[in-house]
């Protein structure tokens, strides 16, 4: 009941997305700023998780909202705004990943082979990580994600990291739910394959 009343008060106090969109189209800059404010955390999080590079993150978020702005006239107000923005954001990230396909990252050159091996072994066992900084484990996870095709990587992040349901994942990727499930499943298998390839490459498989 209390939640319902709070939702009602928020709804009454804040203009709906549709009103902000209409005002933006009439030339109200502050309405567009408010629209960005509502969705920036979601877009920022998705972009950061898919691209992984914080230096690219801000530029990417700006480009995504500029694309939103230039396509705003084509948006059908009958539909919710969030999934539409998510789709623009994921398309942008996939494009960017395809363009930078040739680039190879090796983010752990500062670690010895033994340390890398220990790190990877920790990644394959459930339980708490050791005392290393969370950034170190993020680098390992990124290294594995970087090996995935952009469409698998994006599907994996949306489903596994952001916990979105398959309907949302499919909508963001512009595919069917079945295709979204297949992409997530392939991403899961590929991550394990890349992980094993790394272990094999370092020559110390158990």
């Amino acid at each position: 009941m209390e939640t319902h009343i709070r939702t009602l008060i928020i709804d009454m106090a804040e203009p709906a997305d549709a009103a902000l969109i209409e005002n933006t189209l009439k030339g109200d800059e502050s309405a567009f700023a408010e629209l960005i404010r509502r969705y920036q955390a979601a877009v920022w999080g998705t972009v950061h998780r898919i691209l992984g590079s914080s230096s690219e993150g801000e530029d990417a978020v700006q480009e995504i909202f500029l694309r939103v702005f230039s396509s705003l006239r084509r948006f059908d107000l009958k539909y919710p705004f969030g999934p539409w923005i998510l789709r623009i954001a994921t398309n942008y990230c996939i494009d960017l990943l395809r363009r930078r396909k040739a680039r190879k990252y090796k983010l752990w050159t500062d670690l010895s082979e033994g340390e890398q091996q220990k790190l990877m072994n920790e990644m394959s066992v459930d339980g708490d990580f050791d005392s290393r900084s969370p950034e170190t484990y993020e680098r390992v996870a990124r290294e594995l994600l970087n090996e995935l095709k952009p469409k698998y990587r994006t599907a994996f992040v949306l489903r596994e990291v952001e916990g979105r349901d398959y309907r949302e994942v499919a909508s963001a990727l512009g595919t069917s739910e079945l295709a979204a499930r297949v992409r997530v499943s392939r991403a899961r298998s590929e991550i394990q394959k890349k992980f094993r390839a790394f272990l094999g490459g370092s020559g110390t498989e158990d």
């Binding site: 030339g27 800059e29 502050s30 567009f32 700023a33 408010e34 960005i36 404010r37 920036q40 955390a41 920022w44 950061h48 998780r49 914080s54 993150g57 801000e58 978020v61 700006q62 909202f65 500029l66 702005f69 230039s70 920790e122 990644m123 394959s124 066992v125 459930d126 990580f129 969370p134 950034e135 484990y137 993020e138 390992v140 996870a141 990124r142 594995l144 994600l145 992040v157 489903r159 596994e160 990291v161 398959y166 499930r181 997530v184 499943s185 899961r188 298998s189 991550i191 394990q192 992980f195």
Partner: protein, 153 residues
């Protein structure tokens, strides 16, 4: 169906209680599924553990940029052009025109100007007023004469 094939349904929470128990029993004995499950858990944990801070004032900056870009038509045109291809196209255009200008065959013969035409007409009238030979009587004669005179010059 092999129990390993239930892996995705297990990850997605699509198994009922009995199926889930069966799969978790399988996990204890299957190294492949156990490793994959732990690896995915750790990848997800690692990716969510690090948060990046959003820059302040981002919405205002983006909104300003969006409206500034819309206001300026030249920025819109420039935005259609990618800088590198546009520069290459410009350089190629300049080179092409320079080449055409330097090759003699490409330059067209200069047309007869209006004042030259008038001078020829006056000259023909002068001839008419002189000797009777070669008199110009009509437009056809005038055109014939102009062709001859123009060709001999």
């Amino acid at each position: 169906m092999r129990v390993c094939d239930e892996f995705d349904r297990y990850r997605d929470g699509g198994l009922n209680a009995a199926e889930r128990d069966r799969f978790e029993g399988h996990l204890a004995g299957c190294r492949d599924c156990r490793e994959r499950n732990a690896l995915l858990n750790n990848v997800v944990r690692a990716l969510t553990a690090v948060s990046s801070e959003m820059p302040r004032g981002l919405p205002e900056r983006i909104a300003r940029r969006a409206f500034t870009q819309r206001a300026s038509w030249d920025a819109l045109v420039i935005s259609w052009l990618k800088p590198a291809p546009a520069l290459i196209a410009l350089v190629l255009t300049v080179l092409l025109f320079s080449y055409l200008w330097l090759v003699p065959g490409f330059r067209q013969a200069e047309p007869v100007t209006h004042s030259e035409y008038e001078a020829l007409v006056n000259e023909s009238y002068g001839l008419n007023q002189g000797s009777g030979a070669g008199q110009v009587r009509g437009d056809d004669d005038l055109l014939n004469w102009l062709e001859q005179e123009g060709g001999s010059r």
